[in-house]
C-alpha cells in the first residue's frame, strides 16, 4: 500500500487514488499507542513514572474492547452474505431472500404478500415485493427517525419511530408512490437510549409497544420502562406492564392470547450476569418485571435493590443467556415446519457485546408446556459467530403465509428465508 509523507499533497493524492481498499470489516485496526521506550540510561530496576496524563489511570480495562458493535452502514453484496455458514436442523433449507436491505430489523408481511422491513440505525423502511419470481427491494420511506417498529393490520402499515407512531392505509396498493405516514400517537419521550420501538397488534385489536429505560441502569421516570397499548387510531393510551428495561420483540400466543416478550437486562454487572429474559404478561395492568430493582428474577440490583425482594416482581419464564440480546420473536403458526415446532416461539438472539466471549448470534426455539410455561430452549439456527466475531446478526423473525420463516440480519443488511422439505417460495 502506498505510503505518503503527510506534508506532501501530491503523494497523498497518489495514495488516495491507488490505495487498494480493504473490505469491511477488515478495515484498519489502529495499533494501540506504544508506551514511551525507557531511556537507555535509566536503571533497569526503576520503573519509569507514567506521563502526567496517564497518572491515576486504572489498569482494569486494558485490552477489554467491550464496545457496542456497529454494523457497516452499506449493506453486504449478495454473494458475500454468510448464508453458507448458517446451520439449521436436518431438513431445513436456508437461502438469501433479499440483499441490499440496509440495517434490516423488524419484519412484517402484508395481506398481499409484501414483506416490510424497518431499520434502527438508518432512516429507512423497505418493501420487498415478488415480481414474477424475482424479488425487488424498494425503499418506501427515507428520512424517518429510527423506524425500528412495524405492524400490519387490514391493509394498514404502522411505523414506530423513536418518538412517534404513524400509519399508512392501503400501503400495498401504493408501493411505487407511498403516501406520507399519518401520525396517530406522539405522546412519547425523545430519549435516545432504548428509544426505538417494537410494535405488535394484539387480539384485542390494540397496538402494543414499549417505552424503554432511558439509560443502562437508573431509576426510570414513570413514563418509561413500560409497555403501553393504544387503539389503532392512537386513542386510549394505557400502561399494561412496568419494570421493563428494554424490549425489542413481542408476540401474542395463538392459544392463550397472552403477550410474550423478550427483555434485555442491564449491562456492566459482570460477564455472566444478569441473563436476558423471556417474559409473559399474565396480568395486564398489574405485572411489574423488576427493573431497576431486580434482574433475571433473582438478583437484586447492587444500587437499587436495597429494601426490595425479587419476590415482589413477576418472574421471567426463561433466561436467555447473559448479554445475548434476544430481540425479535414470533410464535410459529404455520404448517410447513414439523409439528414439534407448532406454536413454539422462535427468538432472534442478536448476540452480546458486553462480554469477552460472545454468546447469542443465533435463532433459538422455545417449546412450551400446555400451561404456557417453557418446556425447553434449543438452538435452531446457528453460525453467525465465527472466531468470536460476528459474520451477521439476527434481529427479527417472521412467519410467512406459506409457513416458511424470514430472518433479518441488521449487520449485513439482508433477509434470509428458512423453509422445510421441498416447499418452494410461493409464486415460483
Amino acid at each position: 500500500m502506498t505510503r505518503y509523507a503527510p506534508t506532501r499533497r501530491g503523494l497523498l493524492l497518489a495514495g488516495t487514488i491507488t490505495a487498494a481498499m480493504a473490505v469491511w470489516p477488515a478495515v484498519a485496526q489502529q495499533p494501540a499507542a506504544q508506551p514511551p521506550a525507557p531511556a537507555a540510561t535509566a536503571p533497569a530496576a526503576a520503573p519509569q513514572a507514567p506521563p502526567t496524563w496517564a497518572q491515576g489511570r486504572p489498569d482494569t480495562a486494558i485490552g477489554a474492547q467491550l464496545a457496542p458493535i456497529a454494523p457497516p452502514p452499506i449493506p453486504t453484496v449478495a454473494d458475500k452474505l454468510p448464508v453458507e455458514k448458517l446451520k439449521a436442523p436436518k431438513g431445513f433449507k436456508i437461502e438469501v431472500y433479499a440483499a441490499g436491505v440496509g440495517n434490516a430489523r423488524s419484519l412484517r408481511q402484508g395481506d398481499k404478500g409484501t414483506v416490510f422491513v424497518g431499520s434502527r440505525l438508518l432512516d429507512k423502511v423497505y418493501a420487498i415485493v415478488d415480481k414474477g419470481g424475482k424479488r425487488e427491494v424498494k425503499t418506501i420511506y427515507s428520512g424517518l427517525y429510527r423506524p425500528n417498529g412495524l405492524a400490519f393490520k387490514d391493509g394498514t402499515l404502522y411505523i414506530g419511530e423513536l418518538s412517534k407512531i404513524s400509519k399508512v392505509e392501503k400501503i400495498e396498493d401504493n408501493l411505487d408512490n407511498p403516501p406520507k405516514p399519518v401520525v396517530i400517537y406522539d405522546d412519547l419521550p425523545k430519549d435516545e437510549p432504548h428509544g426505538w420501538k417494537f410494535l405488535t397488534i394484539g387480539p384485542d385489536n390494540k397496538l402494543y409497544f414499549q417505552v424503554g429505560a432511558p439509560c443502562n441502569i437508573c431509576m426510570p421516570p414513570p413514563t418509561h420502562a413500560q409497555i403501553r397499548r393504544i387503539n389503532l387510531d392512537g386513542s386510549g393510551a394505557e400502561v399494561v406492564a412496568r419494570g421493563i428495561r428494554q424490549i425489542v420483540g413481542m408476540d401474542f400466543s395463538p392459544t392463550s392470547k397472552q403477550l410474550y416478550f423478550t427483555e434485555n437486562s442491564r449491562d456492566w454487572l459482570s460477564e455472566d450476569i444478569p441473563e436476558d429474559k423471556l417474559n409473559r404478561l399474565a396480568q395486564p395492568g398489574k405485572d411489574n418485571f423488576g427493573y431497576p430493582y431486580c434482574h433475571q428474577g433473582n438478583i437484586p440490583d447492587q444500587e437499587f435493590g436495597w429494601g426490595h425482594s425479587c419476590d415482589e416482581f413477576t418472574k421471567p419464564l426463561a433466561l436467555l443467556g447473559p448479554h445475548s440480546a434476544p430481540l425479535g420473536m414470533r410464535f410459529y403458526t404455520g404448517t410447513m415446519f414439523p409439528s414439534e415446532y407448532r406454536n413454539a416461539i422462535f427468538i432472534a438472539r442478536h448476540g452480546s457485546w458486553n462480554r469477552s466471549k460472545k454468546v447469542g448470534g443465533d435463532i433459538v426455539v422455545a417449546k412450551l408446556n400446555k400451561d404456557g410455561t417453557v418446556k425447553s430452549i434449543e438452538p435452531f439456527l446457528t453460525g453467525f459467530i465465527e472466531n468470536n466475531n460476528y459474520v451477521g446478526r439476527p434481529a427479527d423473525v417472521v412467519v410467512l403465509k406459506d409457513g416458511s420463516m424470514l430472518i433479518s440480519d441488521d449487520f449485513n443488511g439482508a433477509v434470509y428465508r428458512v423453509s422445510y422439505g421441498t416447499a418452494r417460495i410461493a409464486g415460483h
Binding site: T7, L12, A28, A33, I62, I74, E192, H194
Partner: protein, 188 residues
C-alpha cells in the same frame, strides 16, 4: 482569517461537486481538518488515525443527511459508496494528532480518571483512547470538539449512529464532561 479562507475553498469545491472526483475533494477536507491529521480550527475535529470503520459511518451519515452538520452534509453529497470507503482509508492513515504542549493540571487529570473508569470510556475506546473499529480514536482530539460532542450527546442533539454515547453520558453532569474532555484531549 485562515478558517474563513478554508470555508470558502470548501464551499467553492462543494458547489461544483458533480464533476469532481475524490482526489479533487480530499485536499478540501484537509484544509479544514488539517493536512497532518491535526485540526487548527475551533470545533473542527482532528481526523488523524481515526479508525476507517468509524469514519465510513460518519461520512455515510453526512451523505444520507442523517447527521446534519454543515458544511459536512453538503461536502458529502455526490460521493459514491466506494468514494466513502476510500476516503475513510485515507483518513485512517493520516498521522495521529498530538496533544497541546502545555503544563497539565494534575488535579483535573486525577478527577477525570475515575470517571473514565466508572463510565467505561476506557473499556470501549481503550485506556489510551486510541479507539478501534467503529469506536473512534479520541486521544489528543481537540478539547473544544470533545466537549461539544459530549454536550450534544447529553442533550440528545447528536444521536450518533446508535445510542451508545447518549446512554453513557446520561448520568454525567457538565463539570464531569468538562474534566473528561480535558483528560482525553491531553492523552497520547
Amino acid at each position: 482569517m485562515r478558517r474563513l479562507l478554508a470555508v470558502i475553498v470548501l464551499l467553492a469545491a462543494t458547489f461544483s461537486a458533480p464533476a469532481e472526483n475524490l482526489a479533487d475533494r480530499t485536499p478540501t477536507c484537509l484544509s479544514c481538518h488539517g493536512e497532518d491529521g491535526q485540526s487548527n480550527n475551533a470545533e473542527t475535529p482532528s481526523l488523524g488515525a481515526e479508525p476507517a470503520a468509524y469514519v465510513l459511518i460518519q461520512l455515510y451519515l453526512f451523505r444520507e443527511k442523517q447527521r446534519r452538520v454543515e458544511p459536512m452534509t453538503q461536502a458529502a453529497q455526490g460521493l459514491s459508496d466506494d468514494d466513502l470507503r476510500q476516503l475513510s482509508e485515507v483518513i485512517a492513515r493520516l498521522p495521529a494528532p498530538k496533544p497541546p504542549a502545555e503544563p497539565l493540571d494534575a488535579a483535573r487529570i486525577e478527577r477525570a480518571w475515575p470517571l473514565a473508569r466508572k463510565h467505561h470510556c476506557i473499556f470501549c475506546h481503550n485506556s489510551d483512547f486510541s479507539g478501534h473499529d467503529n469506536v473512534p480514536r479520541l486521544a489528543a482530539q481537540r478539547e473544544d470538539y470533545l466537549l461539544k460532542a459530549l454536550r450534544e450527546y447529553k442533550a440528545n442533539t447528536r444521536p450518533g449512529y446508535d445510542a451508545s454515547m447518549a446512554e453513557v453520558v446520561q448520568p454525567l453532569n457538565d463539570a464531569e464532561l468538562v474534566d473528561l474532555a480535558y483528560l482525553i484531549a491531553h492523552a497520547q
